[in-house]
Subunit: 516 residues, 2 copies
């Protein structure tokens, strides 16, 4: 009987899509060749004592070695811990300890933190050629040393075994760890592909697509791409450590047709080169402003938006076609459809579903076959977030009469003014349409009369001033896009907006600086 | 935690696709309305003593009541046994006894067999209005009597519970029974949808399609459509008992875009009306001849071919585009791609994989996550068909260098002449291209010198005679489509070809009549 375990995916791809290319920077391999490398690695791991349940931290960019580790570790039943190297250094060290990583696989480029990480684990493997000054094993030597025979232990791995452990990028307190089994991780990841294929939406996925994951593997395994690509038999182009110019070069050279990225990465990709870029893009993580969407549409990009997160995996995708035009992004945002098997509800504070009127805000509750039971070593956070089979997302949304959803804000980012919600993202979207504006955040600042009032914080742009922004917002009021009381009382300009490690604007930090 | 159990699918559709229509002949309902009816039914079932594990036989055409039973029985954990009413009467009675049906749900139109079936079960429910002369309950009365509250027992149903039991339509001996769990049946059915969506093939399935299952529910639940349609949120048009003219009328009236059927049904559908028919069709069960394919393409039909069966569920689908033209059907037939998670191997008699050369025939072995463990009450057949996690299909196939497959014949239907295989289906396809030919079978007849020699048996057609057929075959030899020794020695004409209950030409019967 075939089992839903991670290494089965690559084993099948090596048989059915043997010659399909896997590009990693300048290296071109195939699923067949990669499978052989993972089997050899797995044999070496067994010799080294990596066993079912051993936790292995991996810190590297999206390259073929990292892709291989997804499968080699599954073959021996080990648990992969993709380390988020964009966390604060002390949080990185903390997650290595909290996850109880015994092994550390290190790519190149982390020299500064290396001396602090190495003592925290038992063994180190150098993926990027190694540091001759430090003790540790060489990744390529392990590939060479192993025999090409699927290890017997692979047969003992079952779908209910823990496969992966990763951390939230919460802006308050320590990151929270979450474990997913093989079945949970695969079901969640593959359902993204199924959902995208079944709908005529911008980032519609097909078996013949050429896929480039720009979402780093430490973010929910690049939103599942290491599993999705071999599962559907698609070519994979791994960007390694490429700047936006290098990424565009790879896209062109290997005729990439599909990519995922957060809006900030898209912004950089567009800034790198004004030429045409006929890509299907799955984006999410933070709101895609209509200004950026318009810019992207102009060069031939089509979108879908994904909704999900570290503590729920993927839950919904916008199923609108996502063609170009200023209306497109609004249509996309208001067409979130839950994946098959996922239930999304928008509830008020009493736990009842809000009216399906497209305007009443409530909190998103999610139920899916791949929800974890809770956070690791954090009963308090677990019991408030995971309740009787549901996950309380902390996100605000509305539901439309046709059943679709729109996510408006994090509850903690939303502004409550005179007892009414103001959704900053709607205001940000309008401001982003002003030519030249590349970054904007609207936050709530304390107000003695209204409780909170919105403040817009905009990155400096030539020719853009507060008066002009106010004019644009007043026009939007006249057009019925926002109520008059949503227009921010204050408009500030800054050099740069603070970002989180997930590439989102850090509104918590902004609120903190505004209130001091 | 959400579980992969059948009733979850409809429960989700009632929430997410509440207003999507479900048409059944002249009746129009919605997923929301249907879900309410199934819940009320389930409550009535509990009152009547239908419990987890109770086996319930259902004998009806594809209508909304039958669709509802798929879910109402799941809600109480009962096992559905879709009775194949095209089996020989004595086999129908035998399967009711072998499955240990306690309940029998009977649609209208089976008056002749009713007196023999009723005594075999404990209770009868009349789905078609009832027979006032016989004892039994009325289906609609059960819907009205139940309360609209999801029964508590639904929570106790798990993916590993048996959901369904149905029978092969074997031409030798008694039908063989097979049971599938919720998880097996759903995984297998839904993977059809995923695979069709991910490929640019003729019967590409999309969430906005309007689906009409012409495959009867007693054949592997109409190839899974009662699960697929609500899962993807597609509209469903159930044909009930419609002749081909009535089917075409329904297709037109409800703008059906996607249908499944065996080639025989397609032939009848085309004969009913020569007008345009812009449909995506999934077909299989028996070879689609190039003549029929051409005829269908001419009216706007696009195809995909599915490979699978009662004892393995679906395994592969042709992923070629399947556009029109005489080449299309050959391309389709040679582009079978296994579903993700399915392994297909073509093995010789020693168990080794045959060369991937597109010509060497071998037997198809299948491995998938939804394979059953064996036949019910039939250890001998089980142990020869199901071996160490694989299913030996008894089908002959070739594998191409690009990894795709073509299924050629059942081993029992293949012809061995002078130690070499002759695949009748290739010869049938050529003969079918002759205008006027609507049915053809090529079988092996005993031959003292060669062991077997091919014989073509063709349904009478005006202007078609043996000499003409021989000419066409000789041309095909010159074109390299078949070797010279494949040309049948004898060509016979008959009024009608014998069919199996699955709509396939009964070659066993033909061989029997030829040898006596």
């Amino acid at each position: 009987m075939k089992k839903m375990v991670v290494h089965q995916i690559l084993q099948d791809a090596a048989y059915q899509h043997a010659a399909t290319p896997v590009v990693s920077g300048g290296t071109i391999l195939t699923y067949e060749a990669i499978f052989e490398r993972t089997v050899r690695l797995a044999q070496s791991f067994i010799g080294l004592g990596i066993r079912p349940g051993t936790v292995v931290g991996v810190m590297a960019v999206n390259n073929h070695q990292y892709f291989e580790l997804h499968y080699a570790l599954s073959l021996v039943g080990a648990i992969i811990h993709p380390i988020n190297f964009r966390l604060a250094p002390e949080d990185i060290l903390w997650t290595i300890q909290d996850a109880q990583d015994e092994w550390l696989f290190l790519g190149s480029g982390f020299d500064e933190l290396t001396p602090k990480m190495v003592p925290l684990v038992h063994h180190v493997v150098w993926m990027g050629g190694g540091d001759p000054a430090s003790p540790g094993l060489d990744y390529e030597a392990l590939v060479r040393a192993g025999t090409f025979q699927v290890p017997e232990v692979a047969q003992t791995v079952v779908p209910q075994d823990i496969y992966t452990m990763f951390y939230t990028t919460g802006t308050t307190g320590r990151p929270k760890g979450i474990r997913y089994t093989h079945q949970q991780m695969l079901s969640g990841a593959l359902q993204i592909a199924h959902h995208l294929a079944l709908h005529d939406t911008g980032a519609r996925l097909m078996a013949h697509d050429v896929i480039m994951p720009l979402i780093p593997f430490f973010h929910i395994h690049g939103w599942g791409i290491p599993f999705v690509a071999p599962y559907i038999g698609a070519s994979l182009v791994l960007p390694e450590r490429r700047d936006p110019v290098g990424q565009r070069d790879l896209i062109r050279r290997h005729q990439v047709t599909w990519a995922n990225m957060v809006p900030t990465q898209l912004l950089m990709l567009l800034a790198a080169d004004p030429g045409p870029l006929p890509l299907k893009i799955l984006t999410g993580g933070s709101p895609l402003t209509s200004g950026l969407a318009q810019q992207a549409s102009n060069v031939g990009i089509r979108f879908s938006l994904i909704y999900g997160g570290t503590d729920q995996l993927g839950s919904a995708i916008s199923t609108a076609p996502g063609l170009s035009g200023p209306q497109a992004i609004r249509e996309l945002s208001s067409h979130l459809t839950p994946f098959p098997m996922v239930r999304l509800e928008v509830r008020d504070e009493s736990g009842s579903n809000v009216p399906q009127d497209g305007t009443t805000l409530g909190e998103v509750w999610v139920q899916s076959p791949w929800l974890p039971e809770g956070y690791v070593n954090n009963d308090e956070a677990s019991s408030s977030a995971y309740q009787s089979g549901w996950f309380r997302t902390g996100d605000l949304a509305v539901r439309y009469p046709d059943g679709h959803f729109a996510i408006m804000d994090r509850i903690t980012d939303a502004i409550k003014s005179g007892g009414e919600w103001i959704t900053g993202s709607a205001i940000e979207s309008i401001i982003s349409e002003i030519p030249g504006v590349s970054g904007v955040a609207v936050i709530g600042v304390p107000d003695p009369r209204w409780g909170e009032r919105p403040q817009a914080i905009i990155t400096e742009a030539p020719g853009v001033d507060a008066e002009m922004v106010r004019d644009v917002l007043n026009q939007a009021v006249l057009q019925g896009r926002i109520p008059r009381f949503w227009v921010p009382d204050t408009i500030k300009f800054v050099d740069m907006l603070p970002m989180t490690s997930a590439g989102k604007i850090n509104k918590g930090k902004l609120r903190h600086s505004s209130s001091v």
